[in-house]
Amino acid sequence: MLKIENLHAEIDGKEILKGLSLEVNAGEVHAIMGPNGAGKSTLGYVLGGRPGYEVTAGSVTFDGVDLLELEAHERAAAGVFLGFQYPVEIPGVSNVQFLREALNAQRATRDEKPLSGGEFLKLARGQADLLGMDYDMLKRPVNVGFSGGEKKRNEMVQMGIVNPKFAILDETDSGLDIDALRVVGDGINRIMRAPDKAVLLITHYQRLLDYVEPDFVHVLADGKIVRSGGKDLAKQLESEGYVGIAA
């Protein structure tokens, strides 16, 4: 589904990704772990198409399409979802309006008919219910006044509504208490655990992986994947730290 080869990327002239290669197949959950500054969030932003991140070498294909050639909104329409470490507050734009615009824009890019107001509200209400988010929060401005946990829960509601093929989740577990972690973990499993879908979980800690069991774990250090293994690698990292493994 996703094939990254020898990816080099820089921001403000500073190289952050230094030859990263990774292949994710449909039906798989991959976890990327690594120390601060290794380039984990940069990988997410490069895949999402954030301006300012310049790819200097390498390639990324998604379902056979050159992902790097697509605009950020086209990547979303192609089925890529980027869950933010710090979801952005948007005063004056309600969650409902934002999500309906987003979903219908994606559908328009894919030449599908827009959902009516009624159809959309039913879908949004259903997803909010499944994630234990109060429906009233959908009417509020996007993420404004939300706690850290509510923002992450909102990311999952958004993911449920747009129903992507591939999700890159950047530290979705940060700022969550144990109950919220379980809800978010359940959400990821419910929305993304399917034979035709895949997930790239970017995380610092093992704890999210107790809820969302990865098929593969990779260690990212200094812009490259330095080690790959199964879910036991995460446990080993938790007990031994990155120092020995990443060296």
Binding site: E71, H73, A77, F81, L82, F84, I90, E101, A105
Partner: protein, 357 residues
Amino acid sequence: MLLDLPSTREESWRWGDPAAIAAAAGLPRGAALDADAWFLDLPGARALFVDGVLDQGRSDLRHVTMTAIHGGEHALGRRTTGNGWSIRVEANAGVELLQIVHIATGGENQLPAEIVLADGARASVVETYVGAGWSNRSTRMALGKGAKLTRAVRLLQAGGFVSLRDEVEIGAEASLIVTVLGAGDAGTRIDGAITVTGDDAFAEYGGALLTRNDQRQECAVSVRHAALNGQSKQIWRAVAADKSTASLAARVEVARDAQKTDGVQSLRGLLLQRTATVNLKPELEIFADDVKCAHGATVGELDQRALFYMQSRGIPHAKAQALLTRAFVGDAFVQIADETVREAFVADADAWLERAL
């Protein structure tokens, strides 16, 4: 054409554009636009003015009369002295909404107006300006004790210039809400002097100016508190694209005896391109010692993080810009109580965004 207007060396005309007014006055006359498209679907009285002249056949004046009105001493207002429209409402009475469409076909046109509300009286007015030319208006408003006036003004002329001179006196416990939207391609000057003369009164005067290409729009409005316990709000938003200039000068004066005044002033500008200009001048002159006057003035660009967040969810860049800009402008429309009028303002702003982005 030489017009006897103040020079830009005068502080209150610092961002004024007398040359654009003269150019607008010199525009050749053309055919009038279709008026029906500009009236909102609301019951009430209707007046259509073409180049400042009442079109009796297509108006339904009801409580509105035409009468001789003095436009005041102000440089813009005094030019309007002559026959104009008038609403006078008796004590404790309410009148239906009045909608006015002003169509300009070229050249200059002048029109004075007055709205006089006796104690406890209520009125609302919606005005829409379309066409091209120089439309110059003065409106004198006087609110008796406990009177309520709402006025919404849509400046949608495709060319030329619209200048408004408002002079208002607000009596005790009375309430004034004026909202102006500049979303056409004409130059604009909104010139207002609001005086709170009675205790416990409320004045809200604000709106949004949206400019593009090399257009210039400005407001220069002062609210003077001369009585106890008054509240005022000046919420203005400016959005400037291309090489345009939007200028907001808002002033609050609190006289020595106007204790317990509560004033809010919020001037915010958004630059859609770095070639555009937003000028903001919040002014406070306070002589009383027990007052609260909040004020804020900021100019910035759209939040790049929010833009990327929206794009990452599938919203194309231009649409994301439009949603964020609309949210920014929306702050200035919240006080419009009538849903149809508020929706018209939002639709006007959306139409502008379609053209500008």
